[in-house]
Amino acid sequence: MADNTVKTPMLDELEKGKWPSFVKEIKMAAKKSPMAQDLLGQLEQSYNEKIGHWKHGGIVGVMGYGGGVIGRYSDLPDKFPNVSHFHTIRINHPSGWFYTSKALRTLCDIWERHGSGLTNMHGSTGDIIFLGTSTPHLEPIFSELTKEGFDLGGSGSDVRTPSCCVGPARCEWACYDTLALTYDLTMSFQDELHRPAFPYKYKFKMSGCPNDCVASIARSDMSIIGTWRDSIQVNKDAVLEYASKGMNIQKDIVENCPAKCMEWDGKELHIENSYCRRCMHCINIMPKALRPGKDRGATVLIGAKAPIIEGALLSSVLFPFIKIEPPYKQIKDVVAKIWDVWSEEGKNRERIGEFIQRVGLGNFLEAIEVEPVAEMVAHPRENPYVFYEEYFEEDEGEEEEK
């Protein structure tokens, strides 16, 4: 069935238009790969029938690893035998998604030998995705990859491939070294990454400043977002330069400050830093004039996830500010405690964010031995249903509290 002349009138439509076409990519791959060819055929059928043609994933993988491969089988194997197996491989990308042309070509060569020649650069979690191969190729791919210095990413109930923004490599606002931390955590947690043993997945994402260019607060169980504790660095002349070039400092900057902590008298920009929320807006708009302070570190947040099952969550503050320096002890210590508690008491398929909601943040903090601080909440409780834990005993008199 899978011949090179299969008609794909629907998909051909998607070769038109100015945005680069994934159909062209598949067709490009299909020149060499029968898998890509059959993918095209099956996809055309999906477009006609308005339904996917993949079966519920099966468990496949490489020896000794519990994740990194997503098994996939066509439900039309007779019609499209070359995609009867069409597994994807998740390959841990280098932090910051930097490559040399050489490294890319190496990856391409391996994948051309063993798979469809189609990739995602990259998957939503951050991995290099090799899109479509069959079970017998898994081990060879793996050994060729490792020989070239690459390893698999996560899948299943494990640590997922940590990822980070470009950070100090190319950004003036990075408040800590996102790439170094990402690499360090990835290496430290190789076992947890490759051998699922948690109640569910656990994702790390590192952003160098509150702009959060890897969307860590929306999609990682632990979000580490750079910030500073001291005052915004101001270059007064540069402020005046922006003003003289036509920027309306009052309207563009001052009136957009969520903390309402700035004043502009036409000459000087005054920032009441003790009220500044580190939102980045003023810095974003005047990069030449303003910079984050010098006492830099990060806010560590916990618990983001997509909606399934208890509703989507954003990460929330765990440590308002910590210094981020190797060997990253504070982070690793708390991670160890969190995993202990969650592995012990978490339900199957319960993300850490849901777990915290179920047991209560206060109880969770006690379990991981972190002191509650006001920064952890948007506001204190509104309901009066307080589980008071201190009280007086009749015979003790009023002096001692429990």
């Binding site: 959060d212 947040l301 909601q357 943040l361 509650p372 601080v373 509104e382 309901n383 009749e394």
Partner: protein
């Protein structure tokens, strides 16, 4: 009896309000053009017709004797052709048409011990409830605390020296009859021990299923004690709301040793600028210390002064805290943040800080 029933008036409803409206109001009803606050506790409403109505507002303890009401009536006769009203915060308002009567009235009010004020950017009366005066549920007294706090704050009642209005309310238990949950500062009576169950009487006085159902945290289960149907409370699930007691007298929570008061801040009701907000927990527990509850009065006074000093013009307590952030509020107020402050009820997750908007 049938005869009695027949002549008995029922369902007549309250007197129609217009029977009690002074002529100036009847004539200018709906025609008021603007008002001005002339001095603390005194304002004038000017009608489109040019007519002026003066209002003098006097503080009241709300719990008043018929003697006092007759005093009010006498003053109304003397200065207002017999017309007066009460406010939604239980102050009394004298409605004058003669400007020259204002000062004599104020003088007479002072003589009988009633301060004039509570208008505009001031602290008005404390909305409150029954306490030990009349309610079985009370975890604290109402009138005693209100009196003690207002004695401290009367300067802000008699002057308009604050950034905006500040509304204080008190409820003596979680039923919150004072609807304190949207107050700038709320004083709330709290229990801290689970119900003490009277197994001897429970089966006679209470329906076991409705008792179990009454508990928001499902802490109550049926059990048999000494051969009698009763209930037990899983203590670590109890958060002392006393809803079980409301439906069942045999589950008393009142406890002299552990009852007391919590302080909540930052609520508001009006739609002015910011939408209405609930109050949030500031101080989880202060002891009942009659007759003057010094810990409570000090705490409230400190909060008022902190806000008064730091808020911008028009900023209500909650608006101010929203601008500076709760962590900063806790630091400025010198209040320790504790586990109790963290919500753990149904929507707790939504109160977690889901951003990096932090001050240091």
């Amino acid at each position: 009896m049938p005869e009695a029933m027949q002549e008995r008036l029922t369902d007549i409803g309250p007197p129609k309000y217009d029977k009690f409206l002074p002529p100036i109001i009847k004539e200018n009803y709906g025609k008021w053009a603007y008002h001005e606050v002339l001095k603390p506790g005194v304002m004038v409403h000017v009608s489109e017709t040019g007519k002026k109505l003066f209002t003098v507002r006097a503080g009241s303890p709300r719990l008043i004797s018929v003697e006092k009401i007759r005093n009010y009536a006498d003053l109304a006769d003397k200065y207002c052709d017999g017309y007066l009203r009460f406010t939604s915060r239980n102050n009394v308002e004298f409605l004058l048409t003669k400007e020259e009567n204002i000062d004599p009235l104020i003088k007479d009010l002072r003589t009988i011990g009633h301060p004039v004020g509570g208008m505009q950017n001031s602290i008005s009366n404390i909305v409150h409830t029954q306490g030990w005066i009349h309610c079985h549920s009370a975890a604290t007294d109402a009138s005693g605390i209100v009196k003690s706090v207002m004695d401290e704050l009367i300067g802000h009642f008699e002057n308009m020296d604050l950034p905006g209005k500040l509304r204080i309310a008190l409820a003596c238990c979680l039923n919150m009859c004072g609807a304190v949950h949207c107050s700038d500062i709320a004083i709330l009576g709290v229990h801290r021990r689970p119900p003490k169950i009277d197994h001897e009487h429970l089966y006679k006085t209470c329906e076991i299923p409705s008792v179990s159902a009454s508990c928001p945290t499902a802490a109550i289960r049926p059990v048999v004690v000494n051969g009698k149907q009763s209930v037990e409370v899983i203590e670590e699930r109890c958060m002392f709301c006393a809803n079980c007691y409301t439906v069942c007298p045999s589950m008393k929570l009142n406890d002299p040793l552990n009852d007391g008061v919590s302080i909540w801040v930052g609520g508001k009701v009006s739609n002015a600028r910011h939408e209405p907000m609930f109050s949030k927990l500031a101080i989880p527990f202060l002891p009942n210390n009659p007759p003057r509850w010094p810990e409570v009065t000090t705490a409230v006074k400190d909060l008022v002064e902190l806000w008064a000093k730091n808020a911008r013009k028009y900023e209500r307590m909650g608006e101010w805290i929203e601008r500076i952030g709760w962590p900063k509020f806790f630091r400025m107020a010198g209040i320790e943040f504790r586990k109790e402050h963290i919500d753990d009820f149904k929507h707790a997750g939504l109160t977690f800080k889901r951003s990096t908007h932090l001050t240091f």
